[in-house]
Structures are given as C-alpha cells and as structure tokens.
C-alpha cells in the first residue's frame, strides 16, 4: 500500500543520510594536527604563527604533485609537504590559502609577496637562486620523454638529433632549456606552451612526437591515459625540487630545512608520498639531503 511504501522509502533515506553524516563528520581528520610552538620574535615563522594564516603557491594541474580536485583544493605530494610545513609552524592545515603558481610566475609571486612559500615541482637552479632562495631539495626528479603508445622511434634525447622529430615542453621550464641542446633545429622541432596539458593534447593529435619534462609530471599524464602515452628511455638529468621562499630569509630557510630533515626520518615523508604520487609510482624515494648553500 502507498503509505507503507512511503514509510519504507523514508526509513531507508534516513538511514542512508545518518550513515553519510557519520562519514562526513570525519572529514579533515586525514590532515596532520598543528603543533604548539613558539618562534623567535621577528622571524617569518613567528609572523605566520601569529597570523595563523599561510599562503602557499603550488601547481593546480600536475597529477600526483599538485592537482586541483573537484572540491577546489589542490592535492598531491607538493601539497602534503606544504601541509607538513604548515603544521610545524603551529598553523592548522585548513588555514592554508592555496595560490596557483604555474611554472612561469613562481619567482614573481615570491618576490611580490603574494605567497609565503612555493612548493610546485620547483627545480633548483642558479638562475633562480639569483632572485629567490631555496630550501631543500625534498625530491630529485629527472627529465624524461613521453611519446604515443604506438610510437617506438624515439628512445631518448638523441632521437631528436636528426631533425625529424618534434618535441613539446613548457615555456620557461628547465626541461625546455635542456632539450634545446639535443635538437638540430629549434625552429622546426620545438613547441612551447604555457601548461603541460596542451603539450599532452598536441601529442595525442600527432602535432608533436614527444613531450619532455620531469618524470613525475609525465607519470601523472601516463597514469591518466595509459592507452595513449608511454614513457621512454631513462632519466637524463637530475632535477632537485626545492621549496622557494623570499631571498635573504635565512631563518625561515633554516626552519624549512630542519623540518625536511625531521620528516625524512620520522615516516611523514614516506606517508606523504604513499598517499599521493605513490599511487602512480610505487617506489618510495629516499629524501635527499638538504643543500645549505
């Protein structure tokens, strides 16, 4: 009868909703808890702790490292490292303001004070050290090449020397500069876009024959489309990822370096990797020694 059926549906709905509510209340318990710390007066750490707010620049489009999800928040290995540093500062992880920092503007956002740190697959190199300071490295990637699944003609950077193959990368990135040395004619072989997704699209539609950048970024794209792409060859460079912060802020840099050393041994580094990029790449990397240059 109709009333019985309505009652049954109502009971079922209530049970379902309470079930969901029970799960929903748990949200955020995955984030690390902030520590209760005090810092020397005048340091950046003291200021951030006092304001209980931190702005972190990260990528929004790198699967595994910094990828914006449907809830509007980025997630990935870089994001986890950022959260760990935040909790070490005594700030809860949900007080982080995530700012998108595509490759090109990473120095600008630090110089202009738009963010406090940048954790965004940020390769340490001398040119960048002129403008900002690096803490870390916290991960060593390597440049590699991604091709279409059915294309076996490219095996490494030397495949471009004959001038027939075309490669795509992102403007202003270290891999773009490195691959230029392996090209016969930059004008007819190199395509540069502002984001890696455009390179992946160009590869799919056969406008280019390869995409080159750090292996972790490529692994993310291969994981999203395993029938379209594959990685070829070995890593042919060493790309140490660092945390960018304002030039001259030695106290803050030392704090971040100490934090990285701490988490390398207490298991948080491993957990951060396993929760994020570890889903694409099962090998947990060992945390590299920090470089106090």
């Amino acid at each position: 009868m109709r009333i019985n059926r309505l009652a049954a549906v109502g009971v079922a709905a209530t049970i379902a909703l309470t079930g969901l509510a029970a799960c929903g209340g748990d949200g955020g318990s995955g984030d690390p808890k902030p520590k209760d710390v005090t810092f020397d007066a005048g340091t950046t750490m003291a200021k951030l702790n006092k304001d209980q707010k931190i702005r972190i620049g990260t990528k929004f489009d790198q699967p595994g490292f910094g990828l914006k999800g449907l809830d509007g928040k980025p997630a990935g290995f870089d994001v986890e490292i950022g959260k760990i540093i935040t909790t070490e500062l005594g700030i809860p992880a949900d007080k982080i303001e995530w700012v998108e920092a595509p490759s090109k503007v990473r120095e600008e956002v630090i110089e202009q004070g738009k963010v406090d740190i940048v954790v965004a697959t940020y390769t340490i190199n001398d040119a960048r050290k002129q403008r900002i300071d690096f803490a870390g490295p916290y991960y060593v990637a390597g440049q590699q090449i991604m091709t279409r699944k059915d294309d076996d003609s490219i095996t490494g950077p030397d495949s471009f020397k004959d001038g027939a193959k075309k490669v795509c990368s992102v403007t202003g990135s270290t891999p773009a500069k490195t691959i230029e040395a392996s090209l016969k004619d930059k004008a007819s072989q190199l395509v540069l876009f502002d984001v890696y997704q455009k390179c992946a699209d160009a590869l799919k539609t056969k406008q280019v024959d390869a995409v080159t950048t750090d292996n972790v970024i490529l692994t993310g794209f291969v994981a999203n489309a395993p029938d379209d792409f594959k990685l070829v060859g070995e890593k042919f460079t060493q790309e140490p990822y660092g945390i960018g912060l304002k030039k001259g802020d030695t106290a803050f840099r030392e704090f971040v370096n100490k934090t990285l050393e701490k988490i390398a041994s207490d298991g948080r580094y491993e957990k951060a990797w396993k929760d994020t990029a570890g889903k694409f790449d099962k090998n947990v990397p060992t945390a590299p020694p920090v470089n106090r240059y």
């Binding site: 490759s103 090109k104 503007v105 120095e107 040119a127 960048r128 002129q130 403008r131 075309k166 795509c168 403007t171 202003g172 990135s173 773009a176 500069k177 930059k186 004008a187 007819s188 072989q189 190199l190 395509v191 540069l192 876009f193 502002d194 455009k198 699209d201 160009a202 539609t205 056969k206 406008q207 280019v208």
Partner: protein
C-alpha cells in the same frame, strides 16, 4: 638595460619572425576582408547572408578563442593546415612549409579574425562614396562587378584607407599572442622566455619588445597620415 645589448640577437630574430607573421596575416586578412566586403554589398541575398555571418562570427569571438580553435581544434579534426603550405611563399617564409603546424594555425587565426575588421573598414569606405556614383554606373549599363572595379572601389579606397590602417596596426599588436599558441621565437615568446627561463628583469625586456612592435607600427602610422593628406576625400 644591458639585456637589450647583450641579447640583441634574440630581439632581432624575434622581430623578424613577428614581421613574417604580420605580413602573411595582413595579406590573408586583406584578401579575406575584400572578399567578404564584396559579398556584403552584393545584390544577391544569400551572398550577403554569408558575408554577414562571417563578420558576426569573427568580429565577436575574441582572437584568443579563434586561436584556440585553430591550434587545438583543427588537429582534433585531423588537419594540420597543410593547405597553407603555398609553394613559392614557403621558401620565403620558411615556417610556413614546416611540419610543425603552429605557425600556419596562428596565421590562419589572425587572418580570419582581422579579415572581419578589414571587411567592415572597406564597407565603411564603400558607403562613403556618394550614392549617385553607383546609380550613374547602373544607368550607364555597367554590371555589378564592373561597377565595383571601375567606379566604387577606387573611390572607396580613399575613404577606407585610414580605418584600414588602424585595423592593420591593431593586427600587428594582436600578433603578440603568437607566443602563447606554440610558436617559438617570436617577440612575445622571446620576452616570455627571457623573463621566466633566464630570470631577467621584466621592464628592460618588455621595453625591448615594445621597440620591436613600434618599429612596425609607427612607420605604418606615418605612412597612413601621408596617404590621407595627399589624397583628401572630396565629393
């Protein structure tokens, strides 16, 4: 400001590539624009409709979106704009004949977009010609095409040259988008690379590329002024 001297070769090759893009796009835009203008003033309604549709579409869609469609939409459709590999031209403009299609895609986008504005500028010129001229031509028995070629267009040209010049100057500035749609080595992409890749200061680099664009636009502006003063629009 040393970057202007140290890296002059980057600015010079960037200028040369941008000049190539602008020349090809200007030629394409003038051809498409004239064709569309003739369609819009033709006495055959379906042709008028085609002309109006073209202008409505390409004048109102931003150039960035048109460039997206050519750079990322055409490959999805399976084309790499090889119809633009015109035999003689691609020995002069080497990038036209290359395998990498992004140069052709952008020139196509810029020509289509600017062609809509050229069409309107020419139509403004045609409308500026006294109605009596077209009527007299019809009375004399000239066909529509003869009318256009011998009576209207020569007079319309004088009135249209200034708006047309402005459209071309705007196109030269629009060519700065090329660097963001896969073209490596033009002025804007050179600036992009110098500031992000090598971390050079922004202001000197952008002054450098502004000089490059000014070298193209200022003489064109002066030429337009000369043409306008030499041939006053008389009735």
């Amino acid at each position: 400001m040393n970057v202007l001297v140290d890296r002059f070769d980057v600015f010079a090759s960037g200028f040369w590539l941008t000049l190539q893009i602008c020349l090809l796009s200007a030629a394409g835009a003038l051809i498409i624009g004239t064709l569309m203008a003739v369609l819009r003033i033709s006495p055959v309604p379906p042709l008028r409709a085609i002309g109006t549709a073209y202008v409505t579409v390409f004048r109102n869609i931003p150039l960035t979106v048109v460039a997206f469609f050519t750079a990322f939409g055409l490959p999805e459709l399976g084309s790499n704009a090889s119809f633009l590999k015109i035999p003689v031209l691609d020995s002069l403009f080497t990038r036209l004949g290359m395998d990498l299609p992004y140069f052709r895609f952008f020139v196509l986008a810029l020509s289509l977009y600017t062609g809509a504005f050229v069409c309107e500028a020419l139509r403004a010129g045609v409308n500026a010609v006294a109605a009596g001229q077209a009527e007299a031509a019809r009375a004399l028995g000239l066909t529509f095409t003869q009318n256009l070629r011998h009576v209207i267009l020569p007079q319309a040209w004088k009135a249209a040259v200034v708006p047309l010049g402005s459209v071309i100057i705007a196109m030269i500035k629009n060519s700065a988008l090329a660097g963001f749609f896969g073209i490596v080595g033009d002025l804007s992409q050179a600036a992009d690379e110098l500031t992000s890749q090598e971390g050079l200061a922004l202001i000197p680099v952008f002054i450098g590329i502004s000089v490059g664009y000014l070298v193209m636009t200022v003489p064109l502006g002066i030429l337009l002024d000369r043409i306008e003063s030499r041939r006053p629009v008389t009735r």
